[in-house]
Symmetry: C2
Subunit: 235 residues, 2 copies
């Protein structure tokens, strides 16, 4: 194993709390009452997979996630009967950038810093490069490179999203370990011959989470958090 590539939303960063935090500020600033920031975060995130599906299916060329997030934001606000035309463009743009301001889980920076001493570490996210750089610079995440959808031009779990990852690193698929809190992501990587590491994030979707609480496949590594992952990888 030469490289660890990481899913980001849910695995590296806590998107739900982060989006809700900025949504609360946005609602307050715009006098929008009666809206629940956590429900809003869930609703916005629920549009994520269907939006990428159009690109995966070939109905639409690759479009950066920043753009899909903006489309989804307008859709969700409209569903919540918010009059988008009454909101300043700069404020909508600010809320869309909430995804650039997400905080990592507490174990992430320490665990990645240990892993980096021995392995190449990079995000393999459906998020675009600017989005990944924004998160990393704010949080001090020491990536060696920013990989993912904008480099591979494919959204996970499309096979090209994993195969091109190994290709651009100049490695065999088995030399790359995909690390994620999501079993379906690891299943996609495993089918392409990559190694796999599962790190559960049992509160990604809030206290009532039922999905991805345990490994659902024969993954190479199961770790309790990123520090445990570094230990199991010999760092």
């Amino acid at each position: 194993m030469k490289a660890f590539c990481f899913d980001v939303f849910g695995t590296v960063v806590d998107w739900r709390s982060g989006v809700a935090r900025d949504a609360a500020i946005f609602f307050e600033r715009n006098g929008l009452t009666g809206l629940d920031p956590l429900e809003f975060a869930d609703a916005w995130r629920s549009r994520y997979q269907p939006a990428m599906q159009a690109c995966r299916a070939g109905d639409r060329p690759y479009v950066r996630l920043d753009v899909l997030h903006r489309e989804n934001l307008e859709y969700v606000l409209a569903q919540m009967r918010v009059d988008i035309k009454a909101i300043q463009e700069s404020d909508l743009a600010w809320l869309n950038m909430a995804w650039h301001r997400l905080d990592p889980w507490p174990d992430v920076v320490a665990g990645l810093t240990r892993l980096k001493a021995k392995y190449i570490i990079a995000p393999a996210s459906n998020g675009n490069i600017a989005l990944m750089v924004g998160i990393a610079k704010r949080a001090g995440i020491p990536w060696d490179a920013i990989l993912g959808a904008e480099v591979t031009q494919a959204y996970k779990p499309a096979p090209q999203a994993y195969l091109r990852l190994a290709e651009v690193l100049g490695l065999e698929p088995a030399q790359v370990c995909m690390a994620a809190a999501h079993n379906n992501d690891l299943a996609g990587a495993h089918e392409c011959g990559l190694a796999t590491a599962f790190i559960p994030r049992p509160t990604e979707h809030g206290p009532g989470q039922t999905m991805d609480l345990a490994p659902a496949g024969d993954w190479n590594i199961v770790a309790s958090d990123f520090n445990d992952l570094a230990s199991r990888a010999g760092c």
Copy 2:
């Protein structure tokens, strides 16, 4: 200005000394006498621009530099009347990786570390991602992202190599500063609306260098080295 993007071969790393160092080992190991490692480095590098030109002109799709380097290596060895078939494949592969083992100039890591505190820093090289990661991990270069030809799918000085750089960073061209020791690279960036910084590397081509000893355009910044660049950029 939000980001500094760097030319790498010549500007960040001393390719001539590094290639010559590994070539000397390779010649010795294979009993190749009478070959000058520095001349060999110059000959290998001289095939660099013509090899990329086929891709720029559209005669060939984008091909990673690791592949072009390997083609050029075989060409140059054959020109030097070396019998390539007598050499082990693993040894040829090792020499081709000399580009991954190049040392940065002495001011690079300190200057980039200062710049990183205030700006996004990334290579904008014609080198591929694995090549840039290899150099950076060995030398401890703290890039925020690995950009360049494999991300933009264009070789400098093609305009798309600069325009897509700003695009993937989510920035306007004027918010990105191209930093290089080569006036023609800066001219390409300037034509695309990027800011420009010239850092001379007067011994890139050895003691008799005549090119790029001074700025040949009205560049935004002229700095004596990367520490001076950091100071001039307010870091």
